[in-house]
């Protein structure tokens, strides 16, 4: 019995939305994603933390939008018609938009397909933002630690 259950847990796959930021691919756990919207006019908020680009109107709600590039110290976003805003829904912070260069696909990853040993990831990216590297065929997908992206903000 216990063994069977273990197997079920192991085989349970989590869905990730794969996005592109620069030349790298990142995965966002789909359970945090409320919505994906096209790039739209972002109203700048003066004196807001630097990586917050501003706020948008999402069906009558005011949603702050952050630039994950600014947050990770990459060069600034260049908006194209592939740029999307991923709306995350978090318990403590409510809705937050994250700008990504491109949304590619949704993949299923089991725990055995994710390498949790991420001490030596890319120099550019603070390893804290990532909690694993998923392998989907030949592609490598860095899995965002969502709470780190946002919690780090709150301490500012």
């Amino acid at each position: 019995m216990a063994n069977n259950e273990m197997e079920v847990v192991n085989q349970e796959k989590v869905q990730y939305i794969v996005v592109k930021i620069g030349s790298e691919q990142y995965g966002l756990n789909i359970s945090y994603v409320d919505n994906i919207v096209r790039m739209q006019k972002i109203t700048r908020v003066p004196k807001a933390p630097h990586h917050y680009v501003g706020v948008i109107n999402l069906r009558g709600e005011i949603v702050p939008v952050m630039s994950i590039r600014r947050k990770m110290g990459l060069e600034d976003d260049v908006y194209t018609n592939k740029t999307r805003i991923i709306i995350l829904k978090l318990e403590a912070q409510g809705l937050i938009g994250v700008i990504v260069d491109e949304v590619r696909e949704v993949i299923n990853l089991g725990e055995d397909e994710i390498d949790r040993n991420v001490q030596n990831t890319s120099k550019k990216v603070d390893a804290n933002f990532i909690n694993g590297i998923g392998k989907d065929g030949d592609e490598l997908i860095s899995i965002f630690e969502i709470s780190a992206i946002v919690d780090a903000v709150e301490t500012i």
Partner: protein, 708 residues
């Protein structure tokens, strides 16, 4: 019908009575001989006791009963009022409040029986009365006992009891026959409720419940529906079918509190056959019952002016009947929907203006415009009505303060009194609920740090008794609450030293600080000026909490103080939290909203009108020197390549302070819905929210109070 449906009423009314007691006991201390006050106290205490009893809160009933005894002795002139006694009474009142809180959270009175307090009360009575104390504890029972005897005698002398003459309809009659054929005993019974009883229906319900333990109620007079709706005088009659003797039933009925007495007899179904013999009786009954009520009331409360009070109560009834209790969340939901409606309306307005600009709609768009304007009027009115529903006077929050100041005055051994004005000023319910703590803090602050010791006051040529004022009034879109004392004021030198000591500011920098800047230190976290920590204040969680609480409500607080003369805290709160009229302005290509309530006027000034004072830009306008604020610089907008010769300046005010905001363009007035920026970028002092414009764009709202 369930007792719990009375719980809300109980909680509300108890709170009211506690407040009334508190107010009147305060008044009593000032005028110990005032009979009206004593009577009012007595009435409130009695109601409290009665209601606690009805709801089955025995401990609470016990405590209030003993309090009532003390009041009775005061009323009879057996006990003189002194501040020691007032202290005990206030302690008791706090205990009652505690019961109420427990009831509120658990629907039960809890386990604290407050024996110590009750003993204190009784000891006090015995001490002050000496030999005559035997009448103390039991006096009220004795009084009601003897009265019971009298009224029973009266009933006996005035003929038949109501239950014998009650009308029974056909279906009940057949039940009576059935029951008697089944060998059950039938009892007719009339229950009299005490004349000053509140919640009569609840009492009747308890009586019915008690009876149903023994048997079945076959007939009611008045009807059960009328009894439930309290549509009866002081008595009601029932016919019971039971196997038991009547004595235990009677005991059970009498165990319900505020039941005056029970009349009963064995009846037969025949008695309710409407033959000629009994035709005349109902009339007699009609005559008798009101007569009885009349003779009883004055007797019971002869010295109590109870008739007046009762008249007042019945006078109040229609008002209560016309109000509805609504859950604040439902109102919030309603407000949100109105907000959505306004946003939708704004987008219609925005479409209609762009259509108009195209110029090809002609005749049709004329009507369209009119309809839009009509819609605009309706939504504005609707919004105002919903807002008014949410408004409550601040009275409910501030009326506990006089007693608090009295307690503090005694605790600190400094004579002082509180003068309150403008308690009727109305504010949004959510604001009123949350403004209590900050105000309480400011008042405690004034009492503890503000008002000096008597010696020092006399030395400074002030009256012995300190004076604290709490004054509320409406100003434009704001409500202002001022807490003012004639105490020592803020010693800016001492604050400065403390700030240097704490390393908040360097000694050199401290020299250049203005008094206002120094006073602002007091609002920093953990900056307490109390020389020693008392339980009143001085723990360092003080003004900073006040400030953050008030800011959380969208308001601000300002201090003016003169050393040795007194200080004045001005709390400014927005009238509403959700929807405001605003002026839309443009700075470069960004749109901002400025609350219309804080705008004084709009000026076009030429560049050459700008003067410099202390290297800051000001304009001189009709006798006022107004500092200019370049919004574009403040908001980090892109710098302009070439500055215009003419500037558009929006003059805003906060209290006596003015400022001129330089904007690029005016877009016009609009009703806007304030939305939060979300938690992650909420630490913004200049922007206090955002709103959605007609075209779906987001515009930020500039917080004028933070700028001026």
């Amino acid at each position: 019908m369930d007792i719990s449906q009375y719980l809300d009423i109980f909680i509300d009314e108890t709170a009211e009575h506690i407040q009334s007691l508190s107010d009147n006991i305060m008044a009593l201390e000032q005028e110990p001989e005032n009979a009206d006050t004593i009577n009012e106290i007595f009435r409130a205490a009695h109601s409290l006791k009665g209601m606690a009893g009805t709801m089955g809160f025995k401990k609470m009933q016990h405590l209030t009963h003993d309090m009532e005894n003390v009041f009775q002795e005061i009323r009879n002139g057996n006990v003189k009022v002194n501040s020691n006694m007032i202290d005990i009474l206030f302690e008791c009142l706090s205990a009652v409040e505690e019961y109420l809180e427990t009831v509120k959270s658990t629907s039960d009175e809890g386990s604290n029986d407050n024996e110590v307090l009750i003993k204190k009360l009784n000891d006090y009575l015995i001490d002050s009365e000496g030999g005559s104390s035997e009448s103390g504890d039991d006096s009220s029972e004795e009084a009601s006992d003897s009265e019971e005897d009298k009224s029973e005698g009266e009933a006996a002398s005035s003929g038949e009891a109501p239950f014998k003459t009650m009308e029974v309809d056909e279906s009940s009659k057949s039940k009576l026959v059935e029951a008697s054929e089944a060998g059950l005993k039938l009892y007719g019974c009339t229950v009299y409720i005490q004349s000053d009883c509140l919640l009569k229906a609840a009492r009747a319900f308890l009586v019915f419940k008690a009876i149903e333990d023994f048997g079945e109620i076959l007939a009611f007079n008045p009807s059960s529906q009328d009894i439930e709706d309290e549509k009866f005088d002081l008595c009601f009659s029932v016919i019971i079918a039971s196997q038991s003797e009547f004595e235990p039933i009677k005991d059970a009925i009498c165990a319900v509190s505020e039941i005056d007495r029970v009349e009963y007899d064995v009846v037969t179904p025949d008695m309710y056959n409407q033959d000629d013999q009994e035709e005349g009786l109902p009339k007699e009954e009609e005559k008798k019952v009101p007569a009885k009520a009349e003779t009883k009331a004055p007797k019971k409360d002869a010295s109590n002016k109870s008739n007046n009070k009762q008249a007042k109560k019945t006078g109040n009834k229609p008002v209560t009947a016309r109000t509805v209790r609504v859950d604040i969340e439902k109102l919030d939901a309603l407000m949100n929907q109105v907000s959505e409606l306004i946003i939708a309306k704004n987008s219609l307005v925005s479409i209609s203006t762009t259509e108009g600009n195209n110029g090809n709609q002609g005749f049709e768009s004329q009507g369209f415009h009119e309809q839009i304007e009509y819609l605009e009027r309706i939504t504005t009115n609707l919004h105002e009505s919903v807002m008014k529903v949410r408004m409550v006077p601040i009275e409910t929050t501030v009326n506990k303060f006089p007693r608090m100041i009295r307690d503090l005055s005694r605790k600190l051994d400094k004579p002082m009194h509180l003068v309150m004005t403008g308690e009727e000023t109305e504010l949004d319910r959510t604001v009123v609920d949350q403004i209590g703590d900050p105000l309480q803090h400011l008042l405690r602050n004034s009492a503890d740090h503000g008002i000096e010791d008597v010696d020092l006051r006399l030395q400074r040529g002030k009256p012995e008794e300190g004076k604290i004022e709490l004054n509320a009034y409406q100003e434009g879109n704001n409500v202002i609450i001022v807490v003012k004392d004639d105490g020592g004021g803020i010693d800016t030198e001492a604050v400065k030293r403390k700030a240097i000591e704490r390393g908040i500011v360097s000694e050199d920098a401290a020299e250049d600080l203005t008094d206002k800047e120094i006073i602002d230190f007091l609002f920093m976290p953990s900056f307490s000026m109390a020389k020693q920590i008392t339980d009143i204040s001085g723990r360092g969680v003080g003004l900073d909490v006040v400030k953050s609480n008030i800011e959380a409500l969208g308001g601000d607080v300002e201090v003016k103080s003169e050393y040795g003369v007194g200080s004045k805290f001005t709390v400014r709160l927005p009238l509403t939290l959700a929807i405001i009229q605003a002026l839309m302005v443009e700075i470069r290509d960004e749109k901002y909203a400025i609350a219309l309530g804080s705008i004084m006027n709009i000026e076009n000034i030429s560049k050459s009108d700008i003067k410099y004072v202390q290297a800051k830009e000001v304009i001189h306008l009709r006798g006022l020197v107004i500092p200019l604020i370049r919004l574009d610089q403040l908001l980090d907008s892109e710098p302009k390549e070439e500055e215009d010769d003419n500037l558009t300046v929006v003059i805003v005010k906060k209290g006596d302070n003015h400022a001129g905001l330089v904007v690029d363009n005016l877009m016009g007035q609009q009703e806007i819905v304030i939305k939060s920026l979300g938690k992650v970028i909420d630490n913004n002092k200049i922007i206090n929210g955002a709103t959605i414009l007609g075209d779906g764009e987001v515009a930020l709202i500039i917080d004028v109070n933070a700028l001026v």
